[in-house]
Amino acid sequence: MKHKTFFWFILPSLAAMLLFIAMPLVSVAIQSLFVEHDQVLIEVENCTPFKCESSVAVDQEATAALREERPLGQFNALGTYTNRSHLAFAEVREAWNASGSLYEFGAQLMNLPFYKALAFTITYTAVVTPFVIVLGLAIALGVNALPQLVKGPTIFCSLLPMIVTPLIGSLILFWMVDADGILGAALQRIFDDDQLSLKASHSLTWIMLIVYGIWHSAPFSFIVFYAGLQTVPQETLEAAQIDGATRWQRVRYVVVPYMTPLVVFITLMQLMDNFRVFEPIVGFSASAKATSLSWIIFNDLRGGDIQLFGSAAATSLLTILGVVVLLMPVLIRTWQEFGRKVV
């Protein structure tokens, strides 16, 4: 295809991506260097018949005018990155000096919003991804052994948790495990504790969100593995059988190796998707006990009276940095493969 034709064909798509993906990244980078204006304060004198008192008040008009005039806010350089709600260098150093043990230091870090969110995001990604792969493979092996007639309906039912809107899926589970819901009430009865609530404890909230994540993503890896299982050659399986391999050995040494490229693919997709975990925290109203990087950006944008663009932008850039680190192995591999192709 000629360069010119290629250009005209790709133009709409490329323009959309440049305008709405590349440009926002630039915009985020610029916004992160600014911080909201302080409110303009004026001194007002309140006179009663007896004496005059001067007090400080917010000059609403001037503040609004200032915000109108320079919507970006005032220049703050890298100040936003190092403040308490982000990397919090000062607080981290203090905590490091003050705490005697590593455990204590960790506990101190969890009081800082950014590290709290980072800890949950990483834990969620690191726990959900392997569970999804193992569970998906197990389901795929099970479904593959079913009679042909029931396979279709089984796949249909298995797809539901993945297809459903994440927010809706998490709400449905939340209503079940909530104190009055069927599972929550059952737990209360089992443990004979009226006050038991999954929302009340940090670790239970985390487990609840992780269980939701596995439930939501397992179908994806199931479908991929199931499609992969159809391509495992029967001859190899039979050869292994003739050599006396047990069923478990056949799965372990024939099927699993065939699945390895699929595992890489699922891991990549899952890492990308789990790292942006966001909706379940809203759905489970879990933000008091667990926050994610995406959630704190959302909270900066929607949470308070004033939208903290600078703060949201700084967290966004740090999150993007995390994504790049996460994708680094893949990018390096592709780069090397490409280099080999060219040479």
Partner: protein, 293 residues
């Protein structure tokens, strides 16, 4: 036919079937429970006394005189005007799918037929863009959109969703067009067609299976999105998903949680039918990327 040696032991069959049944209960149980419960009153669905109340609708009978009630649906759709949000969702989703498929087929076709190095780099850039958490991009839009008075309108959201969707659409259609033999459009070129004519007369007639599959995933992205729609749409233009999130708080205060339950079930129904009719395409779409490695 399975040979004798391949036949499984009864124990294994039992174990694997039991496992699948257990999984199906986990996968579908919550949906069945919630759909059933949405026709009950709150006292039954969130029963403090006995969970079986939700099955038989004991309170529902005493409060409404019947074991099933449509009160939740009435409250959500009429009182809370959920139909407006459903209408907005229809607009957003329809236009997002149409526009992103139009752009994506052109772009994907070009990427599949161009052997130059920049095509590869574009695909790589698209992969990186695909990994961006949507909310990070949203935080970049917000301030400019406020400044240019673009915030809150449906068209803005549509074009943003189209753009966020592009990397995925490009990848998928690219790998789909690679499967259409090059000879087809090249022989048209030899016969004197321009690229556009070759695309129009040779490729378009055979591309529909791939386009439908990609369209399904565009639909899912636009329909399921929460991060973009909840931040970029004003109160009156909200689509279904952000509306559900925003009225959770108010209905809980009013003691009308069933409104939210009914709204959630209503928003689920289209997805249910989508899987029912397009199961084959969804499965093949999920695996296209995987088989290529």
């Amino acid at each position: 036919m399975a040979s004798v040696a391949q036949r499984r032991s009864p124990g294994l069959i039992f174990f694997s079937t039991a496992f699948i049944v257990f999984w199906l209960m986990i996968a579908t149980g919550p949906f069945i429970w919630t759909v059933w419960g949405s026709f009950k009153v709150q006292g039954d669905f969130f029963s403090k006394t006995d969970w079986r109340y939700a099955l038989y609708g004991v309170r529902t009978i005493t409060e409404t005189g019947d074991a099933f009630t449509g009160n939740g649906y009435f409250g959500a759709w009429i009182q809370q005007e959920f139909w407006r949000n459903a209408f907005n969702t229809v607009i957003v989703v329809t236009f997002t799918v149409i526009i992103s498929l139009t752009m994506g087929t052109l772009g994907g076709y070009a990427l599949a037929r161009s052997g130059f190095r920049y095509a590869f780099w574009l695909l790589m850039a698209a992969l990186v863009f695909r990994a961006m958490p949507h909310i990070t991009l949203v935080s970049g839009y917000l301030l400019p959109f406020f400044e240019w008075n673009l915030w809150g309108h449906l068209p803005t959201t549509i074009i943003v969703l189209v753009a966020i969707n592009q990397p995925f659409t490009l990848w998928m259609l690219h790998s789909f067009f690679l499967n259409i033999p090059k000879d087809m459009d090249e022989s048209a070129l030899v016969d004197g067609c321009t690229r556009l004519q070759a695309f129009r007369h040779v490729i378009i007639p055979v591309m529909w299976p791939g386009v439908i599959t990609t369209g399904l995933f565009s639909f899912l992205l636009a329909y399921n999105d929460f991060a973009v729609t909840s931040v970029l749409l004003s109160q009156e233009n909200q689509t279904m998903v952000p509306k559900i999130a925003s009225f959770l708080g108010t209905v809980r205060q009013q003691g009308q949680v069933m409104f939210a339950v009914a709204a959630v079930v209503s928003a689920m129904v289209p997805l249910f039918f989508l899987v029912l009719f397009f199961q084959r395409q969804i499965v093949s779409g999920l695996t296209t990327g995987a088989v290529k490695g």
